[in-house]
Amino acid sequence: MSNKKIPTINFKEKAIELLPEGASFEACLTCGLCSSGCPASGIENMDPRKFIRMAMLGMDEELSTTPWVWCCTQCKRCQHVCPMSIDISQLVFLARGNWPQEKKPSGIVRSCELIRSTDSTSAMGLPPEDFIFVVQDVLEEVRETQPVFKNLQAPMDKKGAFFFVNQNSREPMSEPDEMVPLWKIFDMVGADWTYSSKGWAAENFCMFSGDEEAWYEVIKKRVDAVNELGCKVWLNTECGHSYYTMWNALNRFGIEADFKLESLITYYATWIREGKLPVNSKWNTKGIKFTVQDPCMIVRKAYGESIAEDMRFVVKSLVGEENFIDMQPNRSANYCCGGGGGFLQAGMTDHRRTYGKRKFDQIAATGAAYVLTPCHNCHSQMEDIGHFYGGNYGVVHFWTLICLSLGILGENERTYLGPDLLALID
């Protein structure tokens, strides 16, 4: 860490600039619903109510330097439960951006740098040619080893395709076989889709570093890539923040996009309703129980209840209504898992797990054997806190369970299945 001082922000003044007309931090009743409902409360001796009160009292130096801003995942649950609808996450974003680059958590900064280092916009720095190679390589292997899929497609840079599908770097980089289930789903529904060699990556840690310029640059590159291919829909993979960073940025920066933003969840639900994805729950003969994690980035912070409803429709179709147990609270009121906001990359492991205890309790209370979630950060965090707190649940992607239900899940695509699920396949 460098000795460079963190500049002091005048939070009260900034709050007035940031808030829409009529809204005010002075409206805070200090009731504490925000802190009571925030998993980051108490970490670094800070909580949302304290943050607001300190801002109002002009304790700017303390707020400018508190590492708590890296523990708040900007999930906006505080605003959601606030009777005055006070948005604290905006101040946290401001505070993050104010930290000198070299003092920010290096994991987040490094991820943002890597995103900007290639045309892929990949936080793992995977260049376009490597992405093309991995996709081709995996595709060939599937065609050879799974005869049913000898004509499987994974189009690259296909102009005029309906869907522009993004891809979290984790798969091509570390677990390439995890890309396959989604390709099979597209194949089954006859989707007209493409990957792009440019701007294909989903993750965006530049927003989490509080660096607006970098955030804009990344989104611009991605939007240009979609526009260039002339796709109608940017279809967001099972990733939460990739959607939010794109969706929020289009309005925030006034970027022109000639396409719609959609989530895979919406399409899973549509394809199931239309009969294109003939999934069922007959395979679940042992009544294995499942719950679902609502990613803040696509539920509370973006779509709201409609996507939460779609998610439940898909899960129930896959595992059987009687085998689905909702977490409490859920949907827009759900807790952030603690993996969001760059927390997983920030290197503050103890704090992250303290935060995640709330999520662990939620999952444990359901008694479910598996958690489904369409978000990579949620996925990683829930796995980690499960191991740490001694939970005995697994975390699975939607695509895995869809292919399992359809009987088309290849042998290399079963990483996240426990013995109970594997026993049902074999």
Binding site: G32, G37, G42, P83, E305, N330, K357
Partner: protein, 438 residues
Amino acid sequence: MKEEARNFETDLAVIGSGIAGFAASIFALNRKINCAQVGNTGAVAYTTGYLDLLGSSEELQTPIDNPWEGLEQLKKAQPNHPLSRIPAADIRKSFEQFTAFLGECGIAYTAPQDANITALTPAGTLKKTLCVPATMAEGAKAFADKIPCVIIDFKGLKGFSARQVVANLKAKWPELTAARISFPDMDKGEIYPEVMARALEVPATRTRLAELLKEAAGEVKVIGVPALLGMHNPDLVRTDLERLTNLQIFEIPTMPPSVPGIRLREMFEQVFPQKGLTLIPQQKVTSLTFNVDGAFLKLSDNYGPITIHSKAVILATGRFLSGGLDANITGITENLLNLPVTQPLSRTDWYHDEYTDHRGHAIHKAGIEIDSSFRPLCNGGKDGKAYNERLFAAGIILAHQDWIRGRSGAGIAIATAYKAVEAAEKFLNFHKVKSNVE
């Protein structure tokens, strides 16, 4: 990218998500009225969980044992009071339906009786209320019978002190003692009832807490704890803890942010959509307009603009805290339609000099006027003309009541919601018949 506007069609739109708004939605569901509810987080999260009908005389500030007799007195003393305009049988029905609904949805409540219950407050004082959550009912009985009891609080939990409760009740309840324990895995820093309640949804946490409770109870068989026995399944959590400890356990409300209100809000938010109601929580309606066909409500959520087209509307936006009314330099205004507000003549008349003046303050009776069908009136009610035939109102936005002094907040909310929905249904049916004939 273009934002997609969303449109909803409904027969009845409820604006507000406090007790009045939720009650209106319950009554609409019971009457099978197609309904939508909108409103940002109301004050419902602040409730103790007690449902007061009339606990105190507004004027004399004396406790009321029999609220039904109290209502008769109220009619004579304050004929304009919203509760004075509603037959007692309807008020009883409204409470019965409301508590039955809560029970069916997983939060059991006592049904309204002929007498008020003397219930315990977080400060160890007593208040008169009509219905209480099942998790709290045994506390009132333990107090009535003066059963030996230990009140237990938790290290790090603010807003609830067992010693304070005992100090205030000791004279009336000699065998009451206090104990403090640490909640499992929460022995550092400030802790919140909400967090503890959610942790108790996990069976393993209950097992660990049970051991601590047993130790704290010693020889005593009845214990009182702050309201944190589970969030989603309070009755199950309490029963399970009683089984594990072999003790009788009851809850006492805590200071906000408290669990009973969050329980209600989260339950409503989950149950209403399942029952077919369109619920748009956490958002404020920004404009309400009427034309010959109905009402248009405009609002926005994170995702973009929403329009609700409704045949009738219930305004349950509350007073100052929830934003139904606004107190300005020049006077008090109603925020959505600029309805006339009955209020003291000038700002200097809002308050007496002393905040604790036993007469109360005139500002606390400000509100909107309604006709016999619970329709807001134009012109401050002078000519008795309704603002719009499609608009009804319920809850504490109504004038001529000081619900805090009367301990009548839930009573006004629930009973007026019942009448407003009844009137709205009558209107909707009349127009259905009319359009069928045409």
